[in-house]
Amino acid sequence: VPKILLIEDDASVREAFEIALRHLGHDVLVRAEGETGIAAVREHAPDVVVLDVMLPGIDGFETCRRLRTFSAVPIVMLTARSDDLDVVAGLEAGADDYLAKPVQPRVLEAKLKAVLRRATPTTATPPIGPLAFGDVVLDRGSLVVTKGGKHLDLTPMELRLLLELAANAGLVLSRQQLLGSVWGLDYLGDSRLVDACVQRLRAKIEDVPAEPRLLRTVRGFGYRFGA
């Protein structure tokens, strides 16, 4: 049974989600603040974190950033305001996905399942053998990525995205295509998931992330990978 950590400050919402998720058969852990939430991740190693944006003390974005310094646990942000800025800020802070409140339990359940599925290492055996793009080397057997000989620490999603891009090097992949092939989301998935993951990947594999040479944007069409 996957263990879910819910970090939410509103007592009624916290209780309601605890009831709903238990009802769906999950093992639920609740915390009301960012700091105690971070401590709970260290202590209990949950399978997924559901994180509210508006928290007393350190907010959801900061909590997310701090979690990312030591953990690759899948994080779903709950945005109270369905503000686009919140969504983008959450994804940039390292969240894997987001949901706008109020959330139907079925929608939350589906999202948790999708996030958990994506977080497990890819089962399909990729073609063996290292691929080199500039000074970035991707070993598709061991799933080790190095840049200039130094090991790169990628999250599961970043690694999946890089594998997909490398397998189609030189081709333009639209964000809708990537949502389908990498995230396993249908056509209407949020393409900002792709943009945010691309940003994070660029920060790790590019010399100058603001002037990408490997992972380029093709304006209006998508992304192209290749040296």
């Binding site: 409140k101 809708q176 056509y187």
Partner: protein
């Protein structure tokens, strides 16, 4: 666009030219008369002016020189008359021109347009009246805009405040529904009613928040060139509408679209056609000169004439008897906002053959994909 009345300008010009010509003619006649007086050394009739000129003239001067001097004076007078007429004309016309320019700017939406009335003639008076009118108009518009912004912000704030308690209630509705089997009849009915109305409230609050994002300008277009047919098929498949709709969409048609917003538009138009019209519902897309055109047509009774112009108003319901539908009453308003975010629009009309058609237009270059 207000144009300076062409008649006024022409009449003023004609007037000034007339004055100039008349002055010139009178002056020339006087000159010629004087010239004749001098040339003939003979007073004409009882012309006292002529006689005086003759008396005043130094007799030593040759007649020829006197004639040339008089001609030169005549020419200078003509030039002076023309110059005076032109400068008076210019002085009258310039403030009129400034007024016309200010009115043009105001008509174009620049409520800060003012004139600088100089002097205290009638035209300056008109200028001051214009400025006063503009001041009043500007402050009224500012007040109205402020009131509208306040009420919209209030609606947005209320929606956000509703969201947290609603989130708690929405989360447990499934748990409630799952246990109705063990309840008494009344308790089960009450539970079902609560669950149903929470879902309705949920849609309403979500739509209010969505429309408040358009009002505050925080709605962002996230467009990418996509296949239009695939996009419409996705909308139909997600809602199980494939069998209700006939598609007439070319295979390779592409357009720069924000697929989630396009889905909201299509789901609304097709949903309405299925709910309020009669089958067949036809979705027809094409590339036209103005960009992508998608038409959703039904074969129902059409839309009442007086409802046509209000269809896209918030909370407008075409049929007053249909007191409360399961929608929020904001569907078409949100659909149109989404179309306008693509720099396009939605229009509704009744076809002569019967049935209603909603036409979505999205210009090819309007929604430049940004990232």
């Amino acid at each position: 666009m207000i144009r300076r009345p062409p008649g006024l300008q022409r009449r003023l010009l004609l007037g000034f030219v007339g004055v100039a010509v008349l002055t010139a003619a009178v002056t020339s006649m006087a000159t010629i008369a004087s010239f004749l007086v001098v040339a003939n050394q003979h007073p004409i009739g009882a012309n006292r002016v002529g006689r005086r000129i003759v008396a005043w003239l130094p007799t030593a001067l040759p007649t020829r020189t006197v004639g040339v001097v008089l001609l030169a004076i005549g020419a200078a007078l003509i030039a002076f008359a023309v110059f005076t007429a032109a400068s008076i004309g210019e002085r009258v016309l310039r403030p009129v021109g400034h007024l016309a320019t200010a009115a043009d700017r105001m008509a174009a939406g620049d409520l800060g347009a003012r004139v600088e009335p100089g002097g205290d003639d009638e035209i300056a008076e008109v200028g001051r009246s214009f400025n006063l009118m503009a001041d009043n108009l500007q402050s009224s518009v500012a007040t109205l805009q402020q009131m509208e912004a306040t009420s919209r912000r209030f609606a947005a704030d209320v929606s956000h405040e509703l969201r947290t308690p609603l989130a708690a209630m929405t989360a447990v509705t499934d748990v409630l529904s799952a246990h109705t089997a063990g309840m008494g009849v009344d308790a089960a009915r009450a539970t079902n009613l609560v669950v149903r109305e929470i879902a309705h409230l949920d849609r309403l609050v979500n739509d209010l928040i969505e429309i408040s994002r358009f009002d505050s300008g925080t709605a962002v277009l996230d467009a990418e060139v996509v296949n239009v047919r695939t996009a419409i098929e996705t909308t139909l498949d997600l809602r199980g509408w494939r069998d209700h709709v006939r598609m007439e969409v070319p295979e390779g048609l592409t357009a720069p679209l924000d697929v989630r917003r396009f889905d909201v538009i299509m789901a609304n138009l097709i949903g309405n056609a299925i709910k309020y019209g009669r089958p067949p519902c036809v979705v027809c897309a094409s590339q036209a000169a103005e960009g992508l055109v998608v038409e959703v047509s039904d074969s129902g009774p059409g839309i009442a004439h007086d409802a046509l112009s209000h269809l896209f108003d918030r909370f407008y319901k075409a049929d007053a008897a249909r007191a409360r539908s399961d929608g929020s009453g904001l569907g078409l308003a949100i659909a149109r906002e989404n179309a306008r975010l693509h720099a396009g629009d939605i229009e509704a009309e009744n076809r002569p053959a019967g049935g209603a058609t909603f036409r979505l237009t999205i210009p090819a270059c309007g929604s430049v994909p940004r990232r």
